[in-house]
C-alpha cells in the first residue's frame, strides 16, 4: 500500500534506505544553483580549449573534482608540461583526503569497492551535507544512503552542466569574455574558507605569491609554487601570531 507522504504523523521513527536516499537528494537541491554554473563554466572552458567531445567526456567521466578539473583544462590549454598539470591537480585535490578522513566513521563496515565508489562520487557539496546530517541527526540510520542520494543528484547535474556548457560554448559570441567566469567561480568558492586569521593569511600569501610567481616562473610552475607559499604562510602565521597559537593549543587540549 502506498503511504501518504503528506501526513507528518505517518513519518516512521526509523526511515528506510529509500527515504534516506530521497532526503539526501532533496537536501542538496538549493546548492545546485551554485554547482550548475560551475559545471557550465567547465564545459565552456573545455570547448574554448579546443578539446574534442570525446576528450571532454572522458575527462568528465573519469573523476569528479571540480576545481582540479577546471585548473587541468586551463593548464592544458596553456601548453603546460604534463607533470606540472598532474602535480597541480593533485595538490588541489588534497582536501578530499581530509574529507575522507572525517567521513570514514560513517562508512565503517562497508566493503572496500563500495567505499571506492563513494570516493568517486563524493563532491565538496555532498560531503558537506552528509556531515551536517550526521551531526544534526546522529540517530537516523542509513547515512550512506543519504550520502548516495546527495552525491548522485550533484553528479547528474554536474555532468549535465558540463555537456550543456560545451554545447553552448560553440554558440556563445567570443566578445563575451567567458574565460573571466573561471576566476569568478573560484572567487565565490574561496570566500567560505576565509574563516580565521590563519586561513586568511594563507589566502593572502598565496594570492600575492601567485601575482609575482605566475608571470615569472616558466611552464606554469608558478601556480604550484604559490599554493605551497600560501600554505607555508598559514603555518608560519599560526606559529607566530599569539592569538592563532592559543586557538590551536586549545584545540589540541580538547583532543587529548
Amino acid at each position: 500500500m502506498p503511504c501518504n507522504k503528506n501526513t507528518p504523523s505517518s513519518a516512521p521513527k526509523a526511515p528506510t534506505k529509500g527515504q534516506a536516499f530521497l532526503r539526501g537528494g532533496i537536501s542538496v537541491l538549493p546548492i545546485l544553483l551554485g554547482v550548475f554554473p560551475f559545471s557550465l563554466v567547465l564545459g565552456f572552458a573545455m570547448k574554448q580549449s579546443a578539446l574534442s567531445p570525446l576528450q571532454s567526456a572522458s575527462f568528465a567521466a573519469s573523476i569528479l573534482a571540480g576545481t582540479a578539473q577546471l585548473a587541468t583544462v586551463q593548464l592544458y590549454a596553456a601548453a603546460t608540461p604534463g607533470v606540472i598539470i598532474v602535480l597541480t591537480a593533485l595538490v588541489i585535490n588534497l582536501r578530499y583526503a581530509m574529507y575522507g578522513l572525517s567521513m570514514e566513521p560513517l562508512v565503517r563496515g562497508k566493503p572496500i569497492p563500495l567505499r571506492i565508489f563513494y570516493a568517486y562520487i563524493m563532491s565538496d557539496q555532498s560531503y558537506a551535507f552528509t556531515m551536517a546530517e550526521a551531526e544534526e541527526h546522529p540517530e537516523r540510520p542509513h547515512i550512506t544512503s543519504f550520502f548516495l542520494g546527495a552525491s548522485l543528484v550533484i553528479y547528474a547535474f554536474w555532468q549535465g552542466g558540463i555537456a550543456l556548457g560545451y554545447l553552448l560554448g560553440s554558440v556563445i559570441p567570443s566578445w563575451l569574455s567567458l574565460h573571466f567566469t573561471i576566476p569568478l567561480v573560484f572567487l565565490s568558492l574561496l570566500i567560505p574558507h576565509l574563516k580565521d586569521g590563519k586561513r586568511r593569511f594563507a589566502a593572502g600569501a598565496a594570492a600575492l605569491s601567485a601575482l609575482v610567481l605566475v608571470p615569472l616562473l616558466p611552464l606554469q610552475t608558478g601556480l604550484l609554487a604559490a599554493i605551497l607559499m600560501g600554505m607555508g604562510g598559514g603555518i608560519l602565521y599560526e606559529t607566530f601570531a599569539p592569538s592563532a597559537r592559543d586557538a590551536r593549543n586549545q584545540k589540541e587540549e580538547e583532543k587529548l
Partner: protein, 108 residues
C-alpha cells in the same frame, strides 16, 4: 595521446586521494602538523588560482595588468562576500567587466 596520459594520472591520483582515508587508512600514521594544516589547502589553492586570473590579461605581447579586470574583480569580490552565491558573483563580475571594458575603451 598526451592529453589522455595526463587525465589518466589526474583521475587515478585523485581517486587515490579521495579514497585512501575513506578505505580506513588510519590518520595516526600521519604527523600531527599535517593533520592540523589540511584546512589551509582550499584557501591557498583558490587564492593562487584567482589572483593572477583576475589581474592579468593575455595580450599578443605577453601578460599585462588589465585595469577593467582588476576593477570588475574587486566588485565581484564584494558580491561574493555579501551575496555568498556563485551565480550572483558570475553575473556581477561579467556585467562589471563589460562596463569597465567599455569605459576603458572610451578613455584609452
Amino acid at each position: 595521446m598526451r592529453y589522455y596520459v595526463i587525465i589518466f594520472w589526474v583521475a587515478l591520483g585523485s581517486l587515490l586521494i579521495k579514497s585512501i582515508f575513506l578505505c580506513g587508512f588510519s590518520s595516526r600514521r600521519l604527523p600531527r602538523w599535517i593533520m592540523n594544516n589540511l584546512d589551509l589547502i582550499p584557501p591557498a589553492v583558490l587564492a593562487a588560482l584567482v589572483a593572477p586570473a583576475l589581474v592579468y590579461a593575455k595580450t599578443p605581447q605577453g601578460v599585462e595588468i588589465s585595469l577593467p579586470q582588476l576593477f570588475a574583480g574587486a566588485g565581484a569580490f564584494a558580491v561574493a562576500l555579501y551575496g555568498k552565491n556563485v551565480f550572483l558573483t558570475i553575473l556581477g563580475g561579467m556585467l562589471l567587466l563589460g562596463l569597465f571594458s567599455r569605459l576603458s575603451g572610451l578613455f584609452g
